[in-house]
Subunit: 397 residues, 2 copies
Amino acid sequence: MYRFSTNTLNMRSSEIRKLMKLAADPSIISFSGGMPNNQLFPCEVVEELFKNLSLQVKQEAFQYGPTQGYPPLLASLKKFLASRGLPVDSNDLIITTGAQQAINLITKAFINPGDTIISEYPSFIGGVAAFRSYGAEIKGIPLQEDGIIINQLTDAIAHTKPAPKILYLSPYFHNPAGIIYSHEKKMAVLDIIKNNDIQLLEDDPYSELYFDETYRELTRSMKSISNDAEKICYVGTFAKILGPGMRLGYLLGPKEIVEKCELAKQSMDACSPTYTQVLANAFLAEDKLTPYLNMVRPIYKRRAEIMLDALKKHMPEAVTWTKPKGGFYIWVTLPGHINASDVFTKSIAMGAAFVIGSAFDPEGKRNNCFRLAFSHTPESRIAEGIEMVAKAVKNFV
Amino acid sequence: MYRFSTNTLNMRSSEIRKLMKLAADPSIISFSGGMPNNQLFPCEVVEELFKNLSLQVKQEAFQYGPTQGYPPLLASLKKFLASRGLPVDSNDLIITTGAQQAINLITKAFINPGDTIISEYPSFIGGVAAFRSYGAEIKGIPLQEDGIIINQLTDAIAHTKPAPKILYLSPYFHNPAGIIYSHEKKMAVLDIIKNNDIQLLEDDPYSELYFDETYRELTRSMKSISNDAEKICYVGTFAKILGPGMRLGYLLGPKEIVEKCELAKQSMDACSPTYTQVLANAFLAEDKLTPYLNMVRPIYKRRAEIMLDALKKHMPEAVTWTKPKGGFYIWVTLPGHINASDVFTKSIAMGAAFVIGSAFDPEGKRNNCFRLAFSHTPESRIAEGIEMVAKAVKNFV
């Protein structure tokens, strides 16, 4: 009946969201949600920080801010990013309403319907949803334990006409794959970027959540390594280092691109919430991030270990999975003939949920894998839940 | 150099934003910003409300919420909207990141490049920016003191082929025109909606800010009057009744449209900030809105009166302006040969700022008007600032 636009037809179906709602049943042991556990948020610290702000700053929190971001947050975030080696002076920074909006804005800036984006398989659901909403064609290049398969990436870029506009990678504690790129893989990607007219969208929500200090070096971003800084848009978020409910992400990128994104943001939501920007700034400026990260890193590490132990104990031999060095996720690969949706149905009936692999396939097809998140599940229930998932798998192996 | 998408070319130029930045100089008496004064925000009330929430709710504030909105806020907002006669049971409600996002989502749902939207002249800048960002053609039908000119509206709908998809109106204490629609005008608009395949986007940010109880009846929304509820999307915001920094708006509309918007929002920012949704819910649920409105209404009324008195005292006879019954704005019309940009240049040199009329013209041309906001300027400086503006005008009359 309604004369809707054609671009809405390109949006992702609500299938996956239905599955995720099912998985939200409180009686289910859920490995579905890619979020921190509610008990892990720095509630008291943030409340105390707010209380101690001046009345003037509290009032500012209620007011519109510049589209680019609340200036004190831009300053404290720049300091933080500079400490991670990112080129904050030669690039522009903009605060976005979650990293989701940063990805959306970059897509809007570059993509006409029919343009190609190259991503990984598996790939972040929200990225794929944003790409689809602008009518992009998406090619998903498989991941290995150390990153994207380079010769397949080279081939895809060479053989796509017109040339793909964006390469979308999430190299650090990948969602959903759980892997981290090796230094060699990053250098190979940078080489490809150098030799092709393509923009790298480097999505980095999890790199602060390494399990051991020795893995830290691996989290060094391509944006901070590269000499081709004008070819890389670096996206980050406060979702995993403060709380997703703040809806704060950011984009560090070439001035010309950030200006386009700022214009687009102006017509999208005018500015990100000043209230939560004030909180995030206090959190950074008062140096609360480091102690918070020191508190949560071993917790996530322990949850991952419990899950890995349980997988080893219960999963049939034909099943493999990634061994995360940080982040929230383990990616499980079933023998090729098994459909993760069938396993899901059995598993949910027994009382444990995960997200099926096809949700993360840009082409929406490949489905012999699934994602387990260990970030959100109480430690005491992880082993029990994995045993259920393994039992479900055993029906098909 | 960058292979940007074509849709970014349709975005509004940054000209107006430059003028607004200029007007933000603290030594300037500014009538530019369409926002509440910082001193008027209910800071203490909100801080107290948050303090008294349970730890569980405080933790929820840090977490993702459903794309449609934080369920307790949806419930308390429905109660509030029902008290204003809005059909909350036969329609769906979605929380958006400011009303700006609600307008953007509806535009995305309906508009292909080249489709026509009919709006008012003058019209809200943010609405026009959203429409342009999807490549819409915009026709601005002039406003009178009691609303849009009906025969021009009928003609525009009849003579636009293909038929326009959206009619965008802001009938209550209009930004920038400051007027409110008469009951007769609203009924005439509803008649047009009934007889044409066009969606009414009823934008209502200011209706709670009436200056006298007797004007309240005028703020009755078309959505609440109409029997054609499926043809009206009603958009509101917390910006003017709590604070724009919360970035919370909402859309009450037909289920099918809200579902489209929810899908689009999923790929835009996933959900609106839970933290500020928790605050807004406490504000509504604990019944803090009514006392807050009772406090601010007479303040805005007094500021408007001071401004009207000063205009009467200082403006040359050939200049006219609207007499607001509520809201934030007065719209000044100069004799046709005078360009508001020239007046602006003189005025800013003397120390007072406003927003020039062409900023509010969907066609970006007509410029013999300007907007004065009285919401943001300290009472003690209004008369002095208006005297400066009038002096600037006198250079050209």
